[in-house]
């Protein structure tokens, strides 16, 4: 990925692009609109949130400065840490399954099979649905009396497998994870598919001549060359599981039962709007952001540093 912006000297002189500052100016002009929008509506509110996190505020009356106390309270908040733990479990579980499944499906689809376009479209479709829709739909699928799953199990004679999918604290989180996986796996499949199609067939043919079997081809050619795509895919799912899963959890369980599906986001929103502890909620949000930013950016940096040209 060479980014030289290099036009040769003649052309540069011809178009008065001699100074690198002129180039830079053009660049800045092109970036300014996006930057302004971004700073005003994303960055500035973040700073405002930071400011609020140093106050005690119920959102309605006046704010009261309490310095770092909110952060102390957050560290002592058992439910917050439970929510973080749940977010972790969610993130790791969902990332593993989505990526492995996505890769697997991409491998399947990469073969010369009929109906692959249809299949690709079908697998990706859940990505386009609104979470409100998915939440209502799946809540009903999980419904103990009238839902699809329990009725299916009953019809197959597997009554012992019937569970309170969303009411049993031990499995509720996993039930919600299944929904997130259902929605997003198609997306990861497409990513991996793109990566697979970028690998030249010659590599495989050469390996076959050397007598390599399926597994050796996979591990020695496919995996290394998918490094870039894997990085993007993994990072997206990990980060999304921390800062983007509010809708799915909220619509399905609201964080219950007993906070077993409480994730960082639902707890933050609950603290803000139900308890009216806005300052404390902002402190939580800051902690979460810092953690995810460091983790995410580090991942991005390391995983994309040595990409193949």
């Amino acid at each position: 990925m060479k980014n030289t912006g290099s036009l040769n000297l003649e052309m540069r002189k011809k178009f008065h692009l001699s100074s690198k500052w002129q180039r830079a100016l053009t660049a800045y002009w092109m970036i300014i609109p996006a930057l302004i929008l971004y700073v005003v509506l994303v960055i500035y509110p973040m700073f405002k949130g930071l400011y609020i996190s140093f106050h005690r505020w119920d959102g309605l009356s006046e704010m009261k400065w309490i310095g770092l106390d909110n952060y102390k309270f957050v560290f002592a908040d058992k439910i917050f840490w439970k929510a973080i733990k749940n977010s972790f479990v969610f993130a790791i579980g969902v990332t593993l399954v989505k990526n492995i499944l996505g890769l697997f499906l991409a491998l399947v689809v990469n073969q010369e099979l009929r109906g692959r376009t249809f299949f690709r479209a079908a697998a990706f479709m859940p990505v386009t649905f609104a979470f409100v829709v998915i939440g209502v739909l799946w809540s009903w699928i999980y419904n103990p009396t009238f839902g699809l799953i329990n009725n299916l199990l009953q019809a197959m004679g597997l009554e012992s497998w019937i569970q309170g999918w969303l009411s049993n604290p031990k499995i509720a989180l996993f039930s919600v994870m299944v929904v997130d996986i259902w929605k997003w796996t198609g997306f990861h499949m497409v990513l991996f598919l793109a990566g697979l199609q970028g690998i030249s067939k010659e590599y495989y043919e050469a390996a076959e001549i050397d007598g390599a079997g399926m597994f050796r081809k996979f591990f020695h050619i496919t995996v290394p060359l998918l490094g870039q795509v894997t990085a993007v895919s993994v990072i997206m799912s990990m980060v999304g599981a921390f800062v983007g899963n509010y809708d799915v959890v909220y619509v399905m369980t609201g964080g219950g039962p007993f906070h077993s599906t409480e994730v960082a986001l639902t707890w933050i929103v609950n603290t803000t709007f139900r308890y009216a502890q806005v300052g404390k909620a902002n402190a939580m949000s800051m902690i979460l952001f810092v953690f995810v930013a460091i983790f995410g950016l580090a991942q991005f940096y390391f995983m994309t540093r040595n990409k193949a040209e």
């Binding site: 830079a24 005003v40 479209a121 479709m125």
Partner: protein, 281 residues
């Protein structure tokens, strides 16, 4: 491995693949079909006939749902907000991404990572600060505020994706254009942009989806019922009419079907755009 063994292996692999594909298709399509079936059942059949398709399709569920939930207005609002968001997002992101991709300037990497930060920001609690900014701009309770906010939230991912896409385009193109007499800006509009269609298609799908499906920001920024979008109307409806599931499913279907259609149409472009972005990113 002899030829026969190889062929057999391939057939087994293919068979296995077909089975997998069939399973996945069922898993993804059936819930949606189930939703549509449910929307056409009567109240009692909804509970008694869980699996199959409706015996006497109750099309009036759609009419009732449409009328009761003011779907016409909501549809319009959703379209306005989504299209408006795209109108802002596409030019802003294309320009910025192009600059990051093709022009070497000081602070390029720093600014890029700065935009990437937006991917890490937790949803939810910044809603109130964002709302107060919106008030300061005098835009409270308007669709424009929703458009601007949703656009701002698309910046990070959009720039990331489009930049990767632009990088994948060979730089000789611009040089060729300029030899023919274009300015750099001209080259951008006449040569690069048309080639960026798949990338743009990707942006359209992602940002469009995000805008169409957004619930949380919309609920904070727009409270006037005449300005509400579909997801808001949906949640409102759920709050009001909890007993009538077929009608609720009809509503869900109304919200979902346009997206599905749009997706099916734009699918090819979109996936090839995603392809380029992922591989070269």
């Amino acid at each position: 491995m002899n030829k026969f063994g190889k062929k057999a292996q391939k057939s087994v692999a293919h068979l296995f693949s077909y089975i997998v594909m069939a399973v996945v298709v069922i898993l993804t399509i059936y819930p949606v079909l189930w939703m549509i079936f449910g929307s056409l059942k009567s109240d009692t059949e909804f509970y008694s006939n869980i699996w199959g398709w409706p015996t006497n399709p109750v099309w009036s569920n759609y009419v009732t749902a449409w009328v009761n939930a003011d779907m016409g207005i909501r549809f319009l609002n959703s379209i306005i907000v989504t299209v408006g968001t795209l109108a802002v997002v596409l030019p802003f992101i294309s320009m910025a991404a192009y600059a990051f991709a093709k022009i070497k300037f000081p602070g390029s990497n720093l600014l890029f990572y700065f935009f990437l930060l937006s991917l890490m920001i937790p949803q939810g609690v910044t809603a109130i600060p964002i709302f107060s900014v919106v008030i300061n701009l005098g835009l409270q309770n308007t669709r424009l505020s929703l458009i601007l906010v949703l656009s701002s939230q698309a910046m990070g991912f959009g720039i990331f994706l489009m930049r990767a896409f632009f990088i994948s385009l060979p730089k000789e193109l611009e040089e060729a254009a300029m030899i023919d007499g274009c300015t750099p800006i001209g080259a951008f509009f006449r040569v690069i942009l048309p080639l960026a269609k798949p990338g743009l298609a990707t942006m359209v799908v992602f940002s469009g989806m995000a805008a169409w499906n957004d619930y949380f920001m919309s609920s904070i920024l727009v409270r006037n019922s005449k300005l509400m979008t579909l997801p808001l109307g949906l949640v409102n409806y759920i709050g009001q009419h909890i007993t009538n599931y077929p009608q609720l499913f009809a509503m869900l279907s109304i919200v979902t079907i346009p997206i599905v259609i749009a997706y099916i149409i734009g699918q090819k472009q979109f996936i090839s755009g995603l392809t380029a972005g992922a591989v070269k990113g």
